[in-house]
């Protein structure tokens, strides 16, 4: 039964986790995402679906508990915020290397270091370019509403199992903490329909033993494994998702994801009221990145502003996308500050309309 509720983004993630048929959640408290673990422990999901919830002693332990549960082919997830996500990187690299599915939520806060607890998009590079050691990628989803926070949980698991790869939901303290109306999807089974021939659940007589490892002491073997991973990442490109807002007649383009895209939607209205033909391209997947659609828009566009809650990270991907065909500039507040719609428009006008 579909159900409407007013929820915080973090609560929506937690409720969606239960409804998506997650087998296990392991987490460690950190602001601004602690509501996820709090909601899950209060909700007694072991009674609702049999889902395991455990508070780990650290993010290192949490991600490795995920590693264990994922090795059994189970839907395992965790959530954290930036400093905790840094501690996940070892485990994520291992899981990418040994091709394990899992879902990790990053409710990003300002950094570097302990930083702030306010919203930020400063973890873009870490999320989209690998994050840990080695040549690998996470599949990254960037919700821009509480509704998407909920919907991306089952989508994340589907993609994680389809590609046997960790998936990250990259959100921030703004969407994690704000309340919006959510239409919750119906309870789904804990089982997955994807291939389970690789899982370590005990060697039965009808098969060879299964081994989960990212080690190959033979460099030729390791190169081969890397080629296989790269082939997989190439296939993942078909999962690219984006939203085009008022792009049809746009002469200038804002590119923004997540909470920054929400702010930019208002900037767009302000611009249109003034007769400025501004459009917004919102990447929904940050890896794979919508290079192609941005490139195609350059034919009609005089300039692009990459609007991010950081000092300029996604702009590198936008520049890669346009390949020199159009001017690309960055604007954004950072360190936990959020730009206003006016600020974005003013920055755009200063750069492109010389006002």
């Amino acid at each position: 039964m579909k159900e409407l509720r007013l929820m915080k983004g973090n609560e929506a993630i937690a409720e969606a986790a239960i409804r998506a048929g997650t087998d296990a959640y392991f987490g460690y408290p950190i602001t601004p995402q602690s509501e996820v673990l709090e909601y899950l422990t209060a909700e007694k999901p072991h009674e609702r679906t049999g889902m395991v919830v455990l508070q780990a002693e650290s993010e290192l332990a949490a991600i490795n508990m995920i590693y264990g549960a994922a090795s059994a082919g189970r839907k395992a997830m965790t959530s954290s915020s930036s400093p905790g996500i840094s501690l996940f990187q070892e485990g994520l690299s291992y899981m990418a290397g040994s091709e394990l599915p899992c879902l990790v939520v990053n409710i990003v806060r300002g950094g570097p270091g302990l930083g702030t607890i306010q919203p930020s998009q400063a973890d873009y590079f870490q999320a989209t370019k690998g994050g840990g050691h080695g040549d690998y990628h996470l599949l990254v989803l960037a919700p821009a509403s509480v509704q998407e926070m909920a919907d991306f949980v089952p989508l994340g698991f589907e993609l994680a199992f389809k590609y046997r790869n960790p998936v990250m939901i990259l959100s921030d303290g703004l969407i994690g903490q704000m309340m919006e109306k959510v239409e919750l999807f119906e309870q789904r089974p804990r089982a997955t329909e994807f291939d389970q021939s690789w899982v370590t659940t005990g060697k039965t007589s009808d098969r060879e033993r299964n081994i989960i490892t990212s080690l190959d002491l033979d460099p030729a073997g390791m190169e081969k494994h890397n080629r296989h991973l790269q082939e997989k990442y190439k296939k993942m490109q078909q999962e690219v998702r984006f939203e085009k807002i008022m792009c049809d007649d746009a002469e200038y383009l804002l590119v923004a994801y997540g909470s920054s895209a929400r702010v930019c939607q208002k900037s767009l209205q302000l611009a249109r009221d003034k007769g400025i033909k501004l459009g917004l391209l919102r990447p929904i997947t940050l890896y794979p990145y919508p290079y192609q659609v941005i490139y195609e828009l350059t034919d009609q566009i005089k300039g692009i502003l990459s609007v991010e809650l950081n000092t300029g990270q996604m702009i590198e991907d936008v520049r890669l996308a346009v390949n020199g065909k159009t001017r690309v500039e960055h604007f954004g507040r950072f360190g936990g500050m959020i730009h206003s719609p006016d600020e974005v428009l003013l920055a755009f006008e200063k750069i492109y309309l010389k006002k």
């Binding site: 332990a61 090795s71 005990g202």
Partner: protein, 268 residues
């Protein structure tokens, strides 16, 4: 008498458990890993739980344990095996889960994961190989390296004032309410192997009880890392390691064993 007359079931005195693969062991001659692998696999064979067991290999010399054990296995990040085991056991409470970890893995980089898995009383078995040295990386000082002991990063002997003291993890985890069975064994003599195997069997049987974590330390030699012959290394181990890391049960069925009783058990 011809060979075919000798090769008969009734004359069988030893056979390799089929749960050990035919891959050539990567361990140095004299090392305790091979023997410990074998007795774990024998226990799994005897309990007939191959289809219900998953092992977790650490980082270190035994990182390739899955090459030798014919069971489902996971290779964990350095020190994180108890966390991996926790995740695995929590989603499969009816399976037998064990970690196999060296001293660097369990007592240095993985101290937190070890202590907390033990303290939560995860219903798993931890097999801890303590040879007082980092074998795989070339004989560096381990958390369990003895005072004064020479290693490649304590070339003048472990100076405890500067480098800190060796840590007795087994005594430490025995103090935690989550452990049900804690013991220290060795595999350098036939008698020691028999006792160690019995301990491992108990540690696996305990998983059926769901009463907490079982922890089996195996004090082992690393003759390559110690720069000794296998025979010298065993002698050195008896004379130096055993006085510091005394063999015997420390905790049985959740009850601490007194030192006196413990010594009685370990007498040959």
């Amino acid at each position: 008498m011809e060979l075919k007359d000798i090769i008969k079931e009734k004359n069988l005195v030893y056979r390799k458990t089929p749960l050990m693969t035919d891959n050539i062991l990567s361990y140095c001659p004299g090392c305790g890993h091979g023997t410990t692998h074998r007795i774990i696999m024998e226990v799994i064979e005897e309990m007939d739980i191959q289809s219900r067991v998953v092992g977790i290999a650490p980082v270190g010399c035994s990182v390739l344990a899955y090459d030798f054990m014919d069971i489902d296995m996971i290779q964990a990040p350095h020190g994180r095996a108890p966390a991996v085991a926790t995740g695995l056991k929590r989603v499969m409470p009816d399976k037998f889960i064990f970690t196999y970890q060296g001293d660097g893995d369990l007592a240095a980089i993985g101290t937190s994961e070890t202590i907390h898995a033990c303290n939560r009383g995860e219903n798993i078995t931890i097999v801890f190989i303590n040879n007082g040295i980092y074998g795989m990386t070339g004989g560096q000082m381990a958390p369990t390296t003895l005072p004064g002991m020479v290693s490649s990063t304590s070339p003048y002997g472990r100076d405890v004032k500067m480098m800190g003291n060796p840590i007795k993890m087994t005594e430490l985890v025995a103090e935690l309410p989550g452990t049900i069975y804690v013991t220290r064994q060795a595999v350098h003599t036939p008698g020691a192997v028999r006792r160690a195997k019995k301990a491992i069997r108990k540690a696996f049987e305990n998983q059926k009880l769901d009463k907490g974590l079982s922890f089996v330390e195996i004090v082992s030699s690393c003759n390559s890392g110690w720069k000794m012959t296998p025979v010298q290394a065993n002698k050195w181990m008896e004379e130096n390691m055993f006085p510091f890391y005394p063999l015997g049960d420390i905790k049985i069925d959740g009850e601490m064993v007194s030192k006196k009783e413990s010594q009685k058990i370990t007498q040959p």
